[in-house]
């Protein structure tokens, strides 16, 4: 059997494929998925659950020198977009199925990324400490004490 003999079936499949592609693209745009490629902190606020963090960051000591991505994503290109893709997937799943723990708490993997970025900027001053940046087991978690420098107290 060849599809050439059933042109209507072929047409139906191709058409439906187009419909699916269109739906997915539309949904992606409607959900402001492109914001994931952005560096603008406003984009992180598309999800209102981040509002407090955004407000806190605006008044925090790091406001003038670091934005969301500067702390929360790796700095080199491929790891950065891989991290965005991975987190983006978990965010979508969480919001759709409403099955995430609240209050939101950062995952260990992302804590390691964060600490690595702390050291990346403050390398000179922490040079004398074995911070083991990026190693989730060994790392000296800067945030254990310096909890409020990113987006304010507690949150």
């Amino acid at each position: 059997m060849t599809l050439r003999k059933h042109p209507l079936l072929l047409l139906a499949i191709v058409a439906l494929f187009g419909v699916v592609a269109g739906l997915c693209t539309y949904t992606f745009t409607y959900a402001q998925g492109f914001s994931y490629f952005s560096n603008d902190p406003q984009a992180c606020m598309n999800c209102h659950i981040m509002r407090e963090q955004f407000d806190g960051w605006q008044k925090s000591p790091h406001h003038a020198v670091a934005s969301c991505n500067d702390c929360h994503t790796p700095h080199s290109f491929i790891p950065k977009y891989l991290s965005k893709a991975e987190n983006g997937f978990w965010h979508s799943k969480g919001f759709t199925l409403q099955d995430f723990h609240e209050p939101i708490m950062i995952r260990q993997k992302n804590v390691a990324v964060l600490q690595q970025n702390c050291v990346a900027c403050h390398e000179q001053i922490v040079d004398g400490i074995n911070t083991h940046p990026g190693d989730p087991k060994k790392m000296l978690d800067c945030l254990h004490c310096h909890r409020e420098v990113g987006h304010g107290p507690i949150r």
Binding site: M1, T2, L3, R4, K5, H6, L9, L10, A12, I13, L16, F17, V19, V20, L23, C24, Y26, T27, Y30, A31, H48, I49, F95, T96, Q98, H101, E102, P103, M105, R147, I154, R155
Partner: protein, 485 residues
């Protein structure tokens, strides 16, 4: 047939593959739309989430009607029927007098010595009050209803009937007058005039949902507190009123911040009180301050006793659920954490944040109640809270035994013929010890609201009880009884 079905002549896939692909794509299209709709819902919730489908007013007592406008809050409010135990409390009505029979002796001669069941959730407050033997076997006044029923409307109506002019500007006058009328009534009569336990109207203004306090006991009490010199760093609006020259009266509904009101609406009822005078007016003893010894000093000054102890003849006080007073001594109050922050934490439903109206022990909801501020694991938080409560429970037991020792000593001395003059010091010590013990026992956090203060109070209770035992020996020249375990 020319098109052979031999493998080498075939081009393309078998039919079923095309059919399956078609179906799979159809399902994918469906799922994509479901996903899309989910996002649409979230965005809609973010735009508007309250739809006022019915009008509610100060006359709307039934929470089911309010629930039409605020279904999420109403849903969680209804959950207060749930019965669940925590290690030291919860919402199951077990009989304290069976669990710790020592209380039958401590409350000998008083209604609490007959029936003292653990309270259940808010939904049961009126029902349980009507059923407790403290009400069925004893004559109680309508004053009891101030806290156990939705009485705002009743007070207003009785106030209007008694001649207070109508209108919004006379709102408080109507309530205060109605309050006077109802407090005097016998409980059985007054209970016929109410139908609901605490309802939306008791905390919220019907027009704009603002928090608003209305119970006369609280209004009078908080004003007395503001007038005093008791420092209230945890209630900054009182400090502000004082600093601004104490002009007029302190008006909680206009002067207090929203965050303070999130504690004050609860403080309308979760407080120590007594029924003052023949009118049985529910009065909060805060003229000298909120601490246990300041309330005691107030009671001493007005000459108030709750009852005479049946076994020892001492004039003693009963403490009733002083959560507001105890919380005021703790670090959470000092740090601006209100009752609602822990007992009605915000919960996210979709894209909407609402207060959880299922008022209950935060131990049953650690993530929402505690983790917003205390960013450690739930296990660690629970362990920490239980540690405080376990220590408090141990001190309570110790204090109960000490008090029992004193009661036994006085009873023995009485049997041996001691006079009232000889036993005066011991009875005074019993009053002091019992007041402090009961203050912590009747308070529902098992020490958590102010751990160090609770421990301090119990330490004093133990000390006064033992001093009382020594006083019996000293004043009646009797040997000190063998130390009670």
């Amino acid at each position: 047939m020319n098109s052979s079905s031999r493998f080498s002549d075939q081009r393309g896939f078998a039919v079923w593959i095309y059919v399956v692909t078609l179906i799979a794509l159809g399902v994918a299209a469906y799922v994509a739309l479901v996903f899309y709709q989910n996002i649409v819902d979230r965005k809609a919730e973010a735009k508007q989430d309250v739809f006022r489908v019915v009008e509610v007013s100060d006359q709307t007592i039934d929470p089911a009607i309010w629930g039409k406008n605020y279904p999420r809050q109403y849903d969680s409010y209804k959950r207060t029927v749930d019965t669940e135990r925590t290690n030291h409390g919860g919402s199951e009505a077990f009989q304290h007098l069976d669990k710790d029979p020592v209380w039958r002796r401590i409350f000998a001669g008083y209604a609490f010595g007959v029936d003292y069941r653990e309270e259940r959730g808010h939904a049961y407050m009126l029902l349980d009050q009507k059923e407790t033997e403290r009400v069925t076997k004893f004559k109680q006044p309508g004053a009891c209803l101030q806290c156990h029923a939705s009485t705002l409307n009743l007070y207003i109506n009785e106030g209007l009937k008694a001649g207070v002019p109508p209108g919004k500007s006379n709102w408080e006058a109507q309530i205060q007058k109605g309050f006077e009328v109802v407090c005097k009534m016998p409980y059985v009569e007054a209970a016929k005039l109410v139908e609901h336990p605490v309802s939306c109207i008791d905390c919220h203004d019907a027009e704009n949902m603002n928090l608003r306090v209305n119970r006369p006991g609280f209004l009078n009490g908080i004003r007395a507190l503001a007038k005093s010199d008791y420092p209230t760093p945890h209630l900054p609006s009182i400090e502000r009123w004082r600093k601004d020259g104490r002009k007029g009266q302190y008006e909680p509904n206009t002067d207090a911040t929203r965050q303070e009101l999130r504690s004050m609406v609860c403080a309308q009822c979760h407080v120590e009180y007594y029924f003052k005078g023949e009118g049985k007016l529910v009065t909060y003893p805060w003229d000298k301050g909120l601490k246990v010894e300041q309330i005691e000093a107030y009671y001493n000054e007005v000459g108030h006793n709750d009852w005479k102890h049946k076994e020892t003849g001492a004039g003693v006080l009963k403490a009733q659920h002083p959560e507001f007073e105890m919380w005021s001594q703790g670090i959470h109050a000092r740090s601006g954490v209100s009752c609602a922050d822990c007992h009605m934490p915000y919960v996210r439903e979709g894209a909407i944040k609402v207060s959880n109206h299922h008022v209950r022990s935060p131990l049953l909801n650690v993530a929402q109640a505690c983790q917003t501020c205390h960013r450690v694991s739930e296990k660690e938080i629970t362990a920490r809270a239980l540690l405080v409560q376990d220590r408090n429970a141990a001190l309570l037991t110790r204090a109960e035994q000490a008090l029992l020792g004193l009661i036994d000593a006085v009873v023995a001395a009485q049997k041996a013929g001691a006079t009232d003059a000889q036993l005066k010091a011991a009875r005074d010590f019993q009053r002091q010890a019992q007041w402090r013990l009961d203050f912590v026992a009747a308070e529902n956090s098992m020490g958590f609201h102010a751990p160090q203060e609770a421990a301090r109070i119990l330490a004093e209770a133990i000390d006064y009880a033992r001093q009382g035992e020594l006083a019996v020996a000293r004043d009646t020249k009797a040997p000190v009884l063998a130390a009670t375990p």
